[in-house]
């Protein structure tokens, strides 16, 4: 039997989305980051184009969830609650390609910081680093709408990635993104049809397709990863097969999700079968991130510096193989 490589060609192509804006483009970033553009499944270099590598962002906090970040203290020491300084450390020491500013502290039950305070935090980070920014909110509709409007205005022209809108709350924030020149994350709870529906709602209000990133909602390893994994594979398969409303780049959040669960903070003393915490905290995030990379994740927001280093290395290694062939 003679062997021939079974190549499959797709009619669809993932939308290319650019985040950030340089001085010429009306912002203050040193460069922009573009994701998407693939015409084949993740790492299938033998049958399609992958013009942009997946990128790794790291997250800073307006209010650090310190209880669960034990494993990160060794890397960030006293800057966990100083978003500007932490952002600089992430970029300069740990190789973050973007910074996500998480505004959890504006949630009415988690500090209730004002929209103005949130805008100040974002400005502080914009000044301390020159990489493009992601602004990450929460699910308290009333408050986050107010916060995001203010933040979008304060960061006008920077083309931040505003993270996120949901099906039940998208109009106000999407309008602010259009008004002040930002890109948007459409988040839906692990479901192909809901994801598609929100993208249709957004494009129906004339939101530009090249400014939409999808977040299919990350379940971390052992806590629903398999659902996210398969939904993302289905979304990407459908998107490449020609469904334009599913052909957007995808964002995942292995850091936030991993650092919520016991495996990244419970001690070996309490769980001897789980092994050492120091390694386990990074392992957990690495396994979550690398498996989701295979499903088509283009933008990963991560926490553990060791995990960031390894995941970036794996991305570089897979793309190296693409050049050869």
């Amino acid at each position: 039997m003679t062997f021939e490589i079974p190549r499959e060609t797709n009619t669809g192509k993932v939308v290319e989305v650019t985040i950030g804006a340089t001085a010429e483009q009306g912002g203050s970033r040193s460069h922009t980051v573009t994701i998407g553009g693939a015409t084949a499944l993740s790492f299938h270099f033998f049958e399609g184009e992958h013009p942009h590598r997946p990128v790794v962002a790291m997250e800073v906090f307006d209010k650090a969830p310190e209880k669960h970040l034990e494993a990160l203290k060794e890397y960030f020491g006293g800057v966990l609650d100083k978003p500007g300084e932490m952002a600089r450390k992430c970029v300069e020491e740990y190789g973050a390609e973007l910074i996500s500013v998480r505004l959890e502290g504006t949630h009415p039950e988690k500090g209730n910081k004002s929209a103005e305070e949130a805008a100040e935090t974002v400005k502080e980070v914009l000044e301390s680093v020159k990489v493009p920014l992601i602004i990450t909110g929460h699910s308290h509709f009333e408050k986050i709408n107010e916060v995001m409007k203010k933040v979008c205005e304060a960061a006008e022209g920077e083309n931040c990635l505003i993270n996120y809108v949901e099906t039940d709350n998208y109009k106000t924030i999407a309008a602010a993104c259009i008004a002040y020149g930002h890109t948007l994350v459409a988040q839906t709870p692990i479901d192909v049809n809901l994801a598609k529906q929100l993208n249709i709602l957004l494009t129906d209000m004339d939101f530009p397709a090249e400014r939409i990133v999808m977040d299919p909602l990350t379940g971390t390893l052992g806590y629903g990863l398999e659902y996210t994994y398969s939904i993302m594979e289905r979304i990407r398969n459908d998107g490449l097969a020609g469904d334009k409303m599913l052909a957007f780049p995808m964002l995942v959040t292995p850091g936030y999700e991993s650092f919520k669960i016991k495996e990244t903070w419970a001690s070996e003393k309490d769980y001897p079968q789980w092994g050492g915490l120091k390694e386990r905290a990074a392992y957990w995030e690495i396994a979550t991130a690398t498996s989701l990379l295979l499903t088509g994740a283009e933008l990963l927001i991560m926490y553990h510096p060791r995990a960031v280093e390894v995941v970036k290395k794996m991305i570089a290694e897979t793309f190296e193989s693409g050049k050869r062939g």
Binding site: M1, F3, G275, E279, A282, A287, S291, V310, M314
Partner: protein, 445 residues
């Protein structure tokens, strides 16, 4: 490739003799196509028909067994994506033992791996195989390592040994344990003879797809079928692409030489890189991975990933329906109720834990469905929840008489209160992530 009823009919005698127990050859062909009959039921089947149907019934990826009584089964996969159906035989995880490590170290390693199991969602997760590589000079070292594994473990064994005489003696020790032999060089006549004589599994190694196809083709022609493929790659990206090409060729093109399970020996400069590569290769089609080193946290992480990827997407994983203590609850602690879908349980228990309170979490039997699905199917309604609470005698376990239900099933609160006299039903938040703020604002006891 499956044959249709009509394809099969063409191969039958078409005499409608009825000797097979079915009135016509056409009806018999239809039964064969549905796998409800076997060709041997027809006493008049030609050799040609037997050969054609035999090849058609061969699975696209062969099931290979490594080991004796508790053999690890790998292969027999039918899809490229788990959402298309499911992945059947989870990746075997092998720990490498090097003869240069010395007897003492090997004994402790074998005992450590053998004694390591971790429970997750009701499953006991363990490593599956030992990979013995002969990297010292003495033949005796290799044979000692094999005997040590045999004495201390029931796990299957893979042998990697360049010394033919040592290999043969080693196989002799394991002759009832069906080991796999790892060939580092292209398979030769000696290897074919050895595989036939001892009925062992052969692991073929090559670095190009074409040459691997030629080698596997040659093995098949020699009548060998218990093969595992080790297609070496220069980096993980190449490796992943190879694995996709191999599995796609087997499943979509029915390319027989690639219809075998895949193995890789993972190399890395650090445990973190090792974990990353192993994770990707578990997701994308390796049936066996060999770890040159390990620690508990690394194995636990890989076991969990493997369990996630190989879970049947059509069958939700369930947790045991019962009362779970969160923190250190006493008789006065609050009571929450949810369904026994594992993901629901994990998220709800995690958020109660995050809230910092101790509580009793009643996980009702809802056949493993999530809250809304179970409610829609009538498995998580006032009556069924009340019955479960009574069956487990919750009233004898706690003094609390308030029970928190998920916000998505607020509508069952009336029925539940009616069916549970003496209890007050509190409607909790719809999303588990709102539990921490919920417990601060509502009096739960």
């Amino acid at each position: 490739m499956a044959l249709s009823g009509l394809d099969i009919f063409k191969l039958l005698p078409k005499t409608n003799c009825g000797d097979c127990g079915v009135p016509t050859c056409m009806a018999f062909a239809m039964k064969l196509a549905q796998k409800k009959a076997e060709l041997s039921d027809c006493p008049h089947a030609s050799e040609e028909a037997k050969a054609a149907l035999g090849a058609a019934s061969e699975p696209p990826i062969r099931l290979v067994k490594i080991g004796g009584a508790n053999a690890l089964e790998v292969g027999n996969e039918t899809v490229l994506f788990r959402h298309e159906k499911t992945f059947y035989h989870q990746t075997g995880i092998a720990v490498e033992l090097r003869t240069s490590e010395g007897k003492e170290k090997l004994v402790s390693k074998i005992k450590e791996v053998e004694g390591y199991a971790v429970e997750r969602v009701g499953e006991e997760l363990t490593a599956d195989l030992f990979f013995i590589s002969h990297d010292s000079k003495e033949k005796a070292d290799f044979l000692t390592a094999i005997r040590l594994v045999k004495e201390n473990s029931a796990k299957g064994v893979i042998l990697d040994c360049g010394d033919e005489e040592a290999l043969k003696e080693g196989i002799e020790i394991l002759k009832d344990e069906r080991p796999a032999v790892f060939l580092r060089k292209e398979m030769g006549e000696d290897d074919i003879d050895l595989a036939k004589a001892y009925d062992i599994n052969l692991i073929l190694t090559d670095s190009s797809l074409e040459e691997m196809a030629a080698q596997a083709g040659k093995a098949r022609e020699a009548g060998l079928n218990n093969l595992i493929l080790n297609l070496e790659a220069s980096n993980v990206g190449q490796h992943l692409q190879n694995n996709v090409i191999l599995r796609r060729s087997a499943l979509k093109k029915n390319f027989k030489p690639f219809g075998y399970p895949l193995i890789s020996c993972i190399r890395a400069n650090s445990r973190f890189d090792l974990l990353a590569r192993a994770s990707m290769l578990i997701c994308k089609y390796d049936s066996v991975i060999v770890l040159p080193e390990y620690d508990r946290a690394l194995l636990y992480t890989l076991f969990t990933l493997r369990q996630n990827i190989y879970t049947d997407p059509q069958k939700p994983i369930q947790v045991d329906p019962k009362v779970y203590p969160i923190g250190e609850p006493g008789p006065e602690s609050p009571v929450f109720v949810t369904t026994n879908f594992s993901l629901t349980y994990f998220i709800v228990s995690g958020e109660i834990e995050n809230s910092g309170i101790s509580a009793h979490l009643v996980v009702a039997d809802a056949e493993g469905q999530s809250v809304l699905t179970a409610w829609a199917a009538g498995k998580f309604v006032g009556e069924t929840v009340a019955k479960f609470v009574k069956d487990i005698k919750l009233e004898d376990q706690v003094k609390t008489r308030k029970i928190v239900i998920p916000g998505f099933v607020a509508q069952i609160s009336g029925d539940l209160e009616e069916s549970l006299p003496g209890w007050e039903v509190i409607v909790g938040p719809q999303e588990a992530s709102d539990i921490p703020s919920f417990v601060k604002s509502v009096k739960l006891t």
